[in-house]
């Protein structure tokens, strides 16, 4: 399947997500369909609302110029409300989009408020994925804000009958001749306001980074105070009058099918609503405790059929065995020369295989939704990175027109690419439909670890060769299953090939922070290190020799300087080592150096230095948070995160069994943010994660002589790092 790289999200989602079907098939609710369409008609197929409702140029539908009135509301309190379908899941989009609007309007950020991710109110800027908010939405909102400011200046000028150039904005008010003043709110009640506000929002001149006054500075998180006081309302915190708490029955293994169940014991419990609809079984009650008791009563009567299911022991064989072959996917990208014959002729050869485990995003807030039906219309508050996709799924599941479904995403507790789906919304809505009251549903941690999709596992094969003078002659790279992001190598080689083989994934898989770039960068940077060793070259020098001039090479040089690579290499003592790696993804560039110690089979990461460049920096403080967070999250995937499963059962689906990084795991971190005001800004929530694992693996080799070729890394004789 080819994906459109320019789509707001499509280009960045891996193939598997686009194939997923609805998790449930519900029976048609005859009464409700009749109410919607009038007696005598029955709605058979849901209306495809996605194309219809995508607006604002962020979606993939036909583009239509948006109007100022769709993007901005001005209140009598002098606050400008900005509307966007983007979500905030901790990456700082609310703050950076506030900056973009403030910049364009030339208003202080305190006068800007964002309404995000409400499918009924907000123009569709697409979902939140692929680091697209920074490069696509910040400029769009900034340009719209410039147009809005121009419209406001003209309104003020008309009021006083002066040319617009004589109107200034000072202290959030429009001023002319020193004593003429009008507030935003007053302008918004002008008679011609509505007409001017229906003008197109796009097309205005953009503001170059050199002119920024709000962007480019560290505006603190605009919701920070709510975070530290507990006032923030996450999806799982939403309350509605008369709300019940819902739970869903899950099978004992991933492919288990329900054969029989007795609903009577749960139905006999006071105040409990029980639903069985096809494969869906759940209950709702006045407290989650009671709902859980009812569920236990149901589970005790359930009989399941369990087919033969896979185990982690055969994972990598399974992926290679089921490879579709023939290049598949984005196969054969970047092909040059004849890698097969060049490999035979090479003076020195490397053949290596790398393996990547399934891991779980485990956002701190599990999937959660509150659903409410009012007069046949459904409203769902939920933590999802894809509000309009969830709206479409709800419309399909309940056979509703898209405009009868409203999805609102309150700022949610983490995403990391793990919240692109909306099963929790469908579950809450089904229970609310049965109960006739709003229902709140929050997955347990075990559910999140078991039933949410995983970052794809993969096997990567590298076949590469050197010519007689130690230069890279041929590079052949094949990724089984984990995906095509950052598949191409930046290193110059006369012969080369990079392929993805799609396999049958034993587990449900989907996006993750930086997608497959982590796997591909790990394999490539480890292999390049081995080749440097074969060539008898310093790993930094070998890389520099083969990289073309440009941002990748610049960032590698930057980290080498910051870390003081050559003197660190010289000063290593027994059991210690340093490693280096670099990579690029989604238009930004990262390079990391790591220093590790290996003693008695135990591995310790002492320090990590990272240089990172993503164009013009929009908010240095938020960027630092994103880079540090990515690095530490990457440490988990590098050293200990791994989903274990046996015959369809997840064996380590809780935090006591699945280790994630804690504060005690954090090495000394040095982050070097390289600002390029001359270049467009690109997103930074993902790419900094990709270079830390290979930097550590390469350092381990220097420390112990052992090449670690799996994620997570395992020293021989020792399963986990400390």
């Amino acid at each position: 399947m080819t994906l459109d790289p320019d789509a707001a999200d499509g280009g960045e989602l891996e193939r598997y997500e686009l194939r997923e079907r609805l998790p449930y098939r519900f029976q048609p609710n005859r009464r409700q369909a009749v109410q919607l369409l009038g007696a005598g008609m029955m709605l058979a197929v849901s209306v495809p609302v996605a194309a219809q409702q995508r607006r604002g140029g962020g979606g993939r539908g036909p583009q239509r110029a948006e109007r100022l009135s769709e993007r901005f509301h001005i209140g009598t309190d002098n606050i400008v409300t900005v509307l966007t379908s983007k979500v905030e899941v901790g990456q700082g989009s609310r703050t950076q989009l506030t900056q973009a609007a403030a910049e364009g309007l030339r208003l202080p950020p305190e006068q800007i408020r964002l309404v995000m991710a409400d499918t009924e109110l907000c123009p569709d800027d697409g979902g939140t994925a692929g680091s697209r908010t920074t490069p696509a939405n910040v400029p769009r909102i900034r340009a719209a804000a410039v147009a809005a400011r121009q419209a406001l200046l003209e309104l003020a000028a008309a009021r006083w009958n002066v040319p617009p150039e004589q109107v200034r904005l000072a202290d959030g008010q429009f001023v002319a001749h020193g004593d003429q003043r009008v507030t935003l709110g007053e302008l918004a009640s002008d008679a011609d306001f509505a007409e001017r506000w229906s003008r197109e929002a796009g097309g205005g001149p953009d503001i170059a980074a050199s002119e920024w006054t709000v962007l480019g500075t560290t505006l603190p998180n605009v919701k920070g105070r709510d975070s530290v006081t507990g006032a923030a309302t996450f999806p799982s915190d939403v309350r509605r009058p008369g709300m019940l708490y819902g739970v869903v029955l899950r099978g004992p293994s991933l492919a288990a099918r329900l054969q029989a169940i007795d609903l009577a014991p749960a139905e006999a419990m006071e105040g409990v609503t029980v639903v069985r609809d096809g494969d869906f079984v759940g209950c709702a009650a006045t407290t989650s405790w009671r709902a859980r008791q009812a569920l236990d009563a149901l589970a005790a009567t359930a009989r399941w059929e369990e087919p033969e299911q896979p185990s982690v022991a055969t994972l990598f064989d399974d992926l290679k065995r089921t490879a579709e072959g023939g290049g598949g996917g984005r196969g054969g990208r970047d092909a040059r020369g004849n890698p097969d014959s060049a490999f035979q002729q090479a003076a020195k050869r490397l053949e290596a295989e790398y393996t990547i485990a399934y891991i779980q995003h485990a956002p701190m807030e599990p999937r959660a939704a509150v659903a409410e039906w009012t007069d046949g219309k459904l409203t769902v508050w939920t933590g999802s990175q894809q509000p309009s996709r969830v709206r479409d799924q709800l419309a399909e599941a309940f056979r509703l027109r898209g405009d009868r479904v409203r999805v609102i995403v309150p700022d949610a507790g983490g995403g990391f690419g793990g919240k692109h789906s909306g099963e929790q919304a469908i579950e809450a809505a089904r229970l609310a439909q049965a109960a006739g009251r709003p229902v709140s549903l929050r997955w347990t941690r075990e559910e999140e670890f078991t039933w949410a999709y995983f970052r794809p596992a993969g096997v990567i094969e590298v076949r590469a060769g050197l010519n007689a003078d130690g230069g890279l002659l041929t590079w052949d790279f094949t990724n089984y299953n984990s995906g095509g992001s950052a598949l191409e190598s930046s290193y110059l080689s006369e012969h080369s090939r990079a392929r993805v083989q799609n396999s049958q994934s034993p587990l449900r898989q989907g996006s993750y922070r930086a997608l497959a770039s982590t796997a591909n960068t790990f394999a490539r940077e480890c292999a390049i290190d081995e080749l440097a060793g074969l060539a008898g070259a310093d790993p930094l020098e070998f890389r520099l020799r083969h990289l073309p001039d440009g941002r990748q090479k610049d960032i590698l040089s930057a980290v080498a300087r910051k870390f003081d690579w050559h003197s660190k290499v010289r000063s290593q003592t027994d059991g210690r080592g340093v490693g280096i790696a670099c990579g690029t993804e989604k238009g930004s560039y990262v390079a990391s150096c790591a220093e590790v110690e290996e003693r008695d089979g135990e591995l310790r990461v002492l320090s990590v230095t990272t240089s990172y460049e993503c164009g013009a920096i929009q908010n240095p403080g938020n960027l630092l948070n994103q880079v540090e967070g990515s690095l530490v999250m990457g440490l988990g995937g590098a050293l200990f995160e791994e989903i274990l499963y046996e015959r369809g059962r997840i064996l380590n689906g809780r935090f006591s069994e699945y280790r994630v990084p804690r504060i005690s795991d954090v090495p000394e971190l040095i982050v070097d943010l390289v600002n390029r005001p001359d270049l467009p800004s690109v997103g930074a929530g993902e790419t900094p994660i990709i270079a830390i694992a290979p930097a550590i693996a390469n350092a381990v080799f220097q420390a112990s002589g052992e090449r670690l070729r799996s994620l997570p890394m395992k020293l021989s004789g020792q399963r986990t790092a400390t």
Partner: protein
């Protein structure tokens, strides 16, 4: 069997009739509408559900409501004095120790407990206390800076240099 429980939360008395085994976390969130204590694991591993009970950081997901009877409970909602944030809250804000913010109330209350012992804690004891908590945004460098800041130690200044 349901029973009446007397709960003292943020200086107010509540009477809640409920099952004594029900987790305090659920009672706070569902009955008292205090949602700053949050669910992260339900097994005492992540600290998202932390409140102070008689000043000590306590995980409410594994505390039955009956154990909390008649003991002074402080949730994140009760930590500030009116509009004035507690110094630990202020330090988290000053150091921008928050990304999604979901784990932050629990982290703050743990730090309040740690710092109430008196005397500036060592970095080791800060790391030991805070490693009871999980932040999946992995905002740990800022969290460490915030707790050190609150403890009156020199904060670990962000090691970053913006170059053109």
């Amino acid at each position: 069997m349901e029973r009446e429980h007397r709960l003292l939360v943020n200086g107010r008395e509540h009477r809640v009739t409920t099952d004594p085994d029900r987790p305090l976390l659920d009672v706070l969130r569902e009955d008292l509408e205090l949602s700053g204590a949050r669910y992260g694991c339900g097994e005492g591993e992540c600290g998202a559900c932390t409140v102070l009970i008689e000043g000590r950081a306590t995980r409410t997901c594994i505390t039955p409501v009956s154990d909390a009877q008649a003991r002074a409970i402080t949730t994140i909602e009760g930590l500030a004095q009116g509009d004035t944030l507690h110094p630990v809250q202020q330090a988290f804000l000053d150091e921008q120790a928050l990304q999604c913010g979901y784990c932050i109330p629990g982290q703050i209350l743990r730090a309040v407990d740690l710092l109430s012992a008196g005397g500036p804690p060592s970095r080791e004891s800060i790391v030991a206390a805070m490693s009871e908590h999980i932040c999946r945004c992995c905002n740990y460098p800022r969290i460490l800076a915030a707790v050190e800041h609150a403890a009156g130690l020199a904060p670990a200044t962000p090691q970053t240099g913006a170059e053109s």
